[in-house]
């Protein structure tokens, strides 16, 4: 199947339009073809500088946008950190079976983009012999091929697949007659005769789907899910040129999606691959929209900014467990207040063998991996 579309010559009208877009976006935001909403957004202050009244106005505006996009205004709260609480997470490596239920529960709870795929949790598969060696990590275990595979990428006129090095591509090659699935974005691009860059790798963020035939845990392997480690000494916060990301008093590292400039310095600085960028407009189908959101957490994100795990700030600040903790079928995930000696997480730290990832970097993660059972 040939999905290539020959680039069209640029018409004069198209050129003028582009020039206008460019001017509007670069030089005079809010002047050409922009609504008052855009102007408000452009003039909006940093989250920590918003007065309660201003915040209310901003939230109203965002709810209106939600209404338009998802048919529901939803709630966008800004519950602050609870005094005396420092959140910590525990993950039992000896229990995790690598089923990726947490990954999908997280996507649902946190309104992550379905297209391109953004997943805050990444489950890595390791060989038992080599232990936790990132060079040997396989994030694509038990997946079927999707647009990500060789065949399809070839059709797109581009070359590229996610590959754990030292091995062949972990993504299986599909049978030649497998129909090529097109994401809504790709379809819209295909159908839009004006688009100059059809299928321009918009899909490279497509994560291959799970292969139902593959049974986890696979013999000889163990699993280490990785998401933001909520570092006490977070390099991402240090490097951000505009203070768009910071650590709140309960230890959660948050991002103001309306302040981030999308420079991606924090992504270079994060040692755990926790940060994800909105390379294009995130797509969230209206029926998948989770209306219970936090301003610094799971509210829908705009294009061009960075996002990551927030320990489900919208839930945990109200005393609930994160979605991943609730979904885990084997109880490998633990969560609690590190300042409370009686909390489960503190008990684990005192009684179990605990490790943190890349401790040589002195990031001081509040995400503790441990061995709960002796095996």
């Amino acid at each position: 199947m040939d999905t290539k579309i020959p680039p069209k010559p640029v018409s004069r009208r198209k050129f003028l339009e582009s020039a206008a877009t460019l001017t509007a976006a670069m030089v005079l935001p809010g002047v050409m073809g922009c609504t008052t909403e855009n102007i408000d957004e452009f003039l909006q202050k940093h989250f920590v500088e918003l007065s309660p009244a201003e915040l209310e106005k901003v939230v109203k505006r965002m709810q209106k946008q939600n209404e338009k996009k998802y048919g529901k205004a939803g709630s966008i709260d800004a519950t602050p950190a609870i005094p005396g609480v420092l959140f910590g997470y525990g993950l039992d490596i000896s229990r995790c079976i690598g089923c990726r239920r947490c990954v999908h529960a997280c996507v649902k709870e946190n309104n992550q983009s379905r297209d391109p795929d953004i997943q805050w949790i990444r489950v890595l598969e390791f060989n038992k012999e080599s232990g936790i060696d990132f060079a040997e990590a396989d994030p694509y275990y038990c997946t079927t091929a999707s647009l990500h595979d060789k065949e399809a990428s070839h059709h797109l006129g581009e070359k590229k697949e996610g590959e754990a090095h030292g091995k062949a591509a972990p993504v299986a090659v599909p049978s030649a007659d497998a129909p090529m699935k097109l994401s809504p974005v790709q379809k819209s691009i295909l159908e839009n005769p004006d688009s100059q860059y059809p299928l321009y790798q918009v899909d490279a963020n497509k994560v291959p789907a799970s292969d139902p035939a593959c049974k986890v845990p696979r013999p000889g392997h163990f699993y280490v899910p990785v998401a933001c480690q909520q570092c006490e000494n977070p390099p991402c916060v240090k490097v951000c040129p505009v203070k768009a990301t910071w650590k709140d008093p309960d230890g959660i590292v948050v991002i103001d999606y309306n302040w981030c400039i999308g420079c991606r310095y924090c992504m270079a600085a994060c040692p755990y691959g926790a940060r994800h960028f909105n390379w294009t407009e995130p797509k969230l189908p209206a029926e998948d929209f989770n209306p219970d959101t936090h301003y610094l957490g799971n509210r829908p994100r705009p294009r061009g900014v960075v996002e990551k795990c927030t320990f489900c700030i919208q839930r945990t600040r109200k005393g609930q467990y994160p979605a991943c903790v609730e979904i885990c079928p084997v109880g490998a995930r633990k969560f609690g207040n590190l300042l409370d000696p009686a909390s489960e997480i503190r008990q684990i730290m005192e009684r179990k063998r605990v490790l943190i990832l890349k401790n040589e970097l002195n990031t001081k993660p509040k995400f503790f991996y441990f061995y709960g059972t002796a095996t």
Partner: protein, 402 residues
């Protein structure tokens, strides 16, 4: 005031007059700029997803070019030091052309940063008072600051020299000399801060080496002067710039020393990586031999050979005094440093990513088009500035002769 209007009219007059080659060159650049603008407007519309950057390699071609150009901007002005030490006759001209190159390179730097960020509409967040620059912690905030200071500084010097040249009044030494002197440490600082921007990231062992800043400076001192060296020769022909062969050869000689230091530092790194053979070796391996499907090494070897050949050409007096071999050396050094400080720095730094995944990055057509557009803007600025410098130089020679 009338003087300023007159000066502007004078500039416009110069820009709109020119031979066939001038117009061909200017229209060629304009075409590339239009193509770049079109590509960029697409990027604005769909997002950075139209580039081949992804979460795994979140910086690419744009930032690589930015890094290289910071070096060009810095080194162009550092050439004032040897010009002063060795009493090259037209030191004023050397300084002026250096500052002009710096201004143009900085225009490109700023454009590359702008096209790389996801929210150019929020660029004001980087500015003091309007935004919330993260001082003193973020090196990127510092970089934006020093680049802007350096830009304004150079622009002021260039405008001042040209303006006094236009009015025919002698420039005030008390104003100009401190500015030029200040621009030298500023040049060093922009490049050091840019190196620190990478250097400070502990998550990326390939960048997290103290040798990075010295290497940046050494390699910059090769690439910046290479452009000026060729420009001097052209201007000597078309504008009667009175620069002696011995001065050109001296620049070439200095470049060979800089290249030697650069190669030596590279060798020191390669030794450390391969001898200690830790898990961090993989990034150097990506650079020189490739891991999986990575492609940087295809460019790295030719670049390394180009650097070594240029080093030899500039080292041997016979070849550095010969205009042909000297110019070949300039081109080779440019290729060598461009590869090393561009993609050779960014890609292995991010491949494999922090969780060990290898994503094979090569720029998309759109990235090439945008980058070509940015380069064209820079070349256009440079062309226009040099055009203003020509009558100025002619005038000052006439003055000298009289």
């Amino acid at each position: 005031m009338t003087n300023i209007f007159g000066f502007i009219k004078f500039c416009l007059g110069l820009w709109t007059r020119g031979g066939r080659y001038y117009w061909a060159w200017v229209s060629f650049l304009c075409l590339l700029i239009i193509s770049g603008v079109l590509a960029y407007s697409n990027q604005l519309e769909y997002g950075l997803g139209l580039t081949n950057m992804r979460d795994s390699i979140s910086w690419g071609f744009y930032i690589g070019n930015f890094t290289f150009l910071v070096g060009v901007a810095a080194a162009a002005v550092m050439l004032v030091i040897p010009a002063y030490v060795y009493h090259w006759e037209p030191i004023k001209e050397v300084a002026l052309l250096g500052e002009m190159l710096a201004v143009s390179a900085l225009v490109m730097c700023m454009l590359f940063v702008t096209v790389d960020i996801g929210r150019p509409d929020r660029i004001t967040h980087l500015m003091p008072f309007l935004g919330s620059p993260n001082f003193p912690r973020s090196l990127l905030a510092w970089d934006v600051l020093v680049l802007n200071v350096y830009f304004i500084l150079n622009l002021t010097i260039v405008a001042y020299i040209l303006f006094t040249g236009y009015t025919g009044r002698p420039y005030k030494k008390a104003i100009l000399i401190p500015l030029v002197l200040f621009s030298i440490p500023a040049a060093i600082s922009i490049h050091t801060v840019t190196a620190f921007l990478y250097n400070g990231i502990a998550a990326r062992p390939y960048w997290n080496a103290s040798i990075l800043a010295p290497r940046f400076l050494a390699s910059a001192f090769c690439s910046g002067p290479a452009i000026l060296l060729m420009l001097f020769q052209i201007l000597r022909k078309v504008a009667g710039l009175r620069i002696k062969d011995t001065a050109l050869a001296k620049i070439a000689e200095l470049m060979s020393y800089a290249m030697f230091i650069n190669l030596f530092l590279l060798g020191a790194e390669v030794f450390k990586e391969y001898y200690s053979n830790t898990e961090h070796l993989i990034y150097t391996q990506v650079l020189f031999f490739g891991v999986g499907d990575t492609k940087v090494h295809y460019f790295m070897w030719p670049a390394l050979i180009a650097s070594i050949v240029a080093f030899l050409l500039f080292l041997i007096p016979k070849t550095r005094n010969n205009p042909l071999t000297m110019n070949i050396g300039c081109v080779l050094i440019f290729i060598g440093v461009y590869t090393e400080k561009g993609m050779g720095l960014v890609i292995p730094g991010l491949t494999p990513d922090t969780l060990g995944e290898i994503y094979v990055y090569s720029p998309s057509l759109l990235e090439y088009r945008v980058a070509a557009g940015v380069f064209s803007v820079g070349f256009l600025v440079f062309t226009l500035l040099v055009k203003l410098a020509i009558p100025y130089m002619e005038k000052s020679h006439a003055h000298h002769a009289a």
